[in-house]
């Protein structure tokens, strides 16, 4: 059985000024998928952390490349992928290669003594990392534990 999801992919210049735009986009995608306010706010921070890392470290000081942001929207979750090498990818292939990260990755990601990956791990439900080429990080937020009918009645889907 094929997995049911919609996939959206966007490319941004790896420049700090676009991080806010990525948050706005994410906010729209999650809101449409039925996420709660807290789920949206948590994801905004996590995705910003991943993009911030890409903007700061993926390219040299004076170079600007591209950051690729992918959203896979399922019934019960949204998976967000941030890749700092800007190359378009096949979502299914990337998913196969992503693995849990190790302490070693953590140290690298937190090069500047930042708290980025820690926040991502804390604020999201599932996190996977892949290195080479560049850093690809996948973050999943589960949503839709309950939905509200148009008549205001709350229904729980389980």
């Amino acid at each position: 059985m094929a997995l049911q999801y919609d996939y959206i992919e966007m490319k941004f210049p790896s420049s700090a000024e676009y991080v806010g735009l990525i948050r706005l986009t994410l906010s729209g995608v999650l809101s449409r998928a039925g996420a709660t306010y807290d789920q949206i706010e948590d994801s905004k921070i996590a995705v910003s952390e991943a993009v911030t890392n890409a903007v700061k470290h993926a390219y040299g000081e004076d170079q600007t490349g591209e950051v690729l942001v992918g959203f896979a929207i399922y019934d019960d979750k949204v998976e967000i992928i941030v890749a700092d090498h800007g190359q378009s990818f096949n979502y299914e292939d990337v998913k196969k290669e992503l693995g849990p990260y190790t302490e070693d990755d953590n140290v690298n990601f937190l090069r500047e003594g930042g708290l980025g990956l820690f926040l991502i791990e804390t604020l999201m439900d599932e996190v996977y990392l892949k290195k080479d080429p560049g850093v690809t990080i996948s973050m999943t937020k589960f949503i839709n534990e309950s939905q509200v009918h148009s008549n205001g009645e709350t229904i729980v889907n389980r």
Partner: protein, 108 residues
Amino acid sequence: MNINIDTTEKENEYLIVLDGELDVYTAPELQKVLDPIRQSGSHNVKIDLTDVSYMDSTGLGIFVGTLKDLNQHERELRVTGVSNRILRLFEITGLRDLMHINEASEVE
């Protein structure tokens, strides 16, 4: 997606009121304001986050750095107007216990 920074000096304290989003893009503006204050260590610093709609680890990093510098000069950093959302960030990173957050001011 920008930030306004309003700084006022009163007696031994700088009050810095932020309005907007504090992230990797806007952080350099805040750093520019804080750098001389951190270096001179002549004043306490109070940062008002009431109108900050978004903040992430970039902001936390600035506050930690500022706290360290001010402490070396036996000065204080206070952060006020912290919303529940942003307070959560200070809590999960363990920074809440290191800083004066949302504490009532002695002066006012």
